[in-house]
């Protein structure tokens, strides 16, 4: 027997059976519709979060180490951290003097402050004190004007760089270079505007900032704060060696005896990534469980309808068997019917989730439904079609022709 003729016939039968019971088929497919909508939307959302993360993580810099008082995502008890001494400029200078495997080193301190221009005022602008090397260390580009010079940095000149949020808040279309703004109650001359950086994970803006010389920062806002030392490694591939060198220099600078524990953290992008991956894989697992559950419920619904459909068409099965349909033929007929219902449900699910993904893209976070999610959605629908159709189809296939013909 020709299998293609059989399958083609089965599609026609499935089409007739489904359109003959429109409402029932729609209700049966509803569970799959919801399941596929959930699966694809979740994948799309994760895709969006990943993209946001990838673009944000760039701001941290893969080849930059951050020597700080604490480790990011430290897992020790609070006791270990409580009595750590601040990191100060002497540590920075010691490190800068001895390090071999770094192309640039810069210290930063920062705090949120109110910034004013004339009668305009911006709250909680992040004010960073650093040196001219900061530009090189974290790879900042200047949009207009220039970065402050080493002379300005060392001399503690009242000059500043501003982020695009500050520029837009104060100057609109005016040229900001040379304008005087107030940080706290102190005046600074704007010498440059930093290129737009975007936001960190969509949570806070990296452009809402003012950068001033660190010596000026200390003079105006005090020295009682811990410094973060940013170190750009010579070679990304030797980051581990640079990290070891930084550690040993820092241990000398902080006079830690041999065998003593580090009382500082050397942080890097990878730590961020690890934590992020842990978090998202948890979200993925939970999402998978929830969407998997809805698909199973949907599948049970379809299996139920298929059992009813087989029962109702017992006579038809008897007739088909009497005139020569084999078990396989009947099996294929009902399997295809269930796959068609599930695939239909899956396609409706995709038709619902695709516009929603566009809405998410436009208003929540930039994302897109990748093609593989569409393919996956259809594949899952087909899988559940076979799964839910199998037992009803098997039951139909093994019906006794004599009894089926007698069935009314």
């Amino acid at each position: 027997m020709n299998i293609f003729v059989e399958i083609k016939e089965s599609f026609i039968i499935a089409y007739n059976a489904i359109t003959g019971n429109k409402m029932r088929s729609i209700l049966a497919a509803l569970g799959i519709v919801i399941g596929i909508t959930a699966v694809t939307l979740m994948q799309t959302a994760i895709e969006g979060i990943n993209r946001a993360f990838e673009s944000s993580i760039g701001a941290i810099g893969a080849d930059v180490l951050y020597v700080q008082k604490f480790e990011w995502f430290g897992k020790e008890d609070f006791e270990v951290y409580r009595n750590r001494k601040d990191i100060n400029l002497q540590h920075y200078e010691f490190l800068k003097k001895y390090i071999q495997s770094a192309s640039s080193v810069s210290p930063t301190v920062g705090s949120p402050r109110t910034v004013q221009y004339g009668s305009l005022s911006l709250e909680s602008v992040f004010v960073i004190g650093t040196t001219e090397e900061y530009q090189k260390t974290v790879g900042l580009n200047v949009d207009e004007g220039r970065f402050f010079t080493s002379k300005e940095s060392e001399g503690g000149y009242p000059v500043c760089m501003i982020g695009t949020d500050v520029k837009n808040g104060f100057f609109n279309n005016m040229n900001p270079i040379g304008k005087i703004i107030k940080v706290g109650s102190y005046s600074f001359r704007v010498v440059g505007v930093i290129e737009k950086q975007g936001s960190m994970l969509g949570l806070f803006s990296l452009d809402n900032r003012v950068i001033i010389p660190i010596t000026k920062f200390y003079k105006l806002f005090g020295t009682r704060r811990s410094v973060s030392i940013n170190i750009k490694a010579n070679d990304l591939n030797n980051l581990e060696e640079t990290k070891e060198e930084v550690k040993s220099i820092m241990r000398k600078a902080r006079k830690i005896p041999a065998g003593g524990r580090d009382d500082f953290g050397v942080n890097e992008q990878a730590a961020f990534k690890d934590t992020y991956n842990q978090l998202t894989s948890l979200i993925k697992v939970i999402g998978l469980l929830i969407t998997g559950l809805s698909l199973i419920v949907g599948s049970v619904g379809i299996a139920n309808i298929m059992f009813v459909s087989v029962k109702e068409r017992t006579k038809e099965i008897g007739i088909r068997k009497a005139i020569g349909a084999r078990r396989r033929t009947i099996m294929i007929q009902f399997l295809i019917e269930s796959v068609v219902i599930c695939l239909g449900g899956g396609m409706i699910g995709l038709m619902i989730s695709f516009p929603i993904s566009l809405i998410i893209d436009a208003f929540v976070l930039p994302t897109a439904m990748p093609l593989w999610v569409v393919v996956l959605g259809l594949f899952i629908s087909m899988f559940f079609g076979v799964l839910s159709g199998f037992f009803p189809a098997y039951n139909a296939a093994k019906l006794d022709p004599v009894e089926s013909l007698r069935y009314e």
Partner: protein, 231 residues
């Protein structure tokens, strides 16, 4: 004449719980090609069971059955399905057409299960419908046809795959006398053209159309007589 059905000592046992019931208690039948046989008997006599076994819808508990040279009593489900498809044309009392398919598709169905190409199927189904006088009703669905026309569609379906035998189970049971006579005339014509026909009925009037009458009672053959058919 060549033998088309050779049944030897067939029994059929039904077990219902602890109760054992023999529907057939050892039946021997030999039917030659181009015979027109009526199987008669009251309800419960075992004639339906015999018909189901002849039609390969059911298998005997013991005994031999050779259909058109093929030993069928030990075949599995799928092999029996193929035999039903190629060797047997069923005509039922209740027509048993697929209600949602038109006449042409109903007649085409056995050819689908034989795996014929679409064009060959359509051609043969159309010929078969024309043979029973329904050339102008091919696109009609069963509920748009009269009882007699439905039974003609069923006959066309039974004939479409050139089977060895046509097995008709009370073919006039759901028809009025006049239409019933028309169907019987159609069978007589088919028999004249060389088809082997086995008719299951309990009506003497209908059985008169056959050349041979086999009477069944209590699972055994009561009589097997030849007669001149009255058409």
């Amino acid at each position: 004449m060549s033998t088309i059905i050779d049944i030897k000592n067939i029994t059929k046992l039904y077990e219902m719980g602890t109760e054992k019931l023999y529907a057939l208690k050892g039946v021997d039948v030999v039917i030659e090609r181009n015979e027109y046989v009526a199987i008669m008997g009251p309800s419960g006599s075992g004639k339906s069971t015999l018909m189901n076994i002849i039609g390969c819808l059911d298998t005997p508990t013991s005994g031999d059955y050779v259909l058109n040279g093929k030993d069928v009593h030990e075949m599995d489900d799928d092999e029996l399905a193929e035999i039903r498809n190629k060797e047997i044309g069923f005509v039922f009392q209740t027509f048993n057409l697929l209600p949602r398919s038109n006449a042409l598709h109903n007649v085409e169905l056995p050819l689908i299960y034989s795996g014929l190409s679409k064009t060959a199927r359509i051609k043969r189904a159309e010929e078969s419908l024309a043979n029973v006088g329904l050339a102008d009703r091919m696109k009609h669905k069963p509920n748009e046809l009269s009882g007699g026309q439905r039974q003609r569609v069923a006959v066309a379906r039974a004939l479409v795959n050139n089977p060895s035998i046509i097995l008709a189970d009370e073919p006039t049971g759901n028809l009025d006398t006049k239409t019933g006579e028309e169907i019987m005339a159609l069978f007589a014509e088919l028999n004249k053209k060389g088809n082997t026909i086995i008719l299951v009925t309990h009506e003497e009037d209908i059985a008169k159309h056959a050349n041979r009458i086999i009477k069944i009672r209590d699972g055994m053959i009561e009589s097997d007589t030849y007669q001149t058919a009255r058409h």
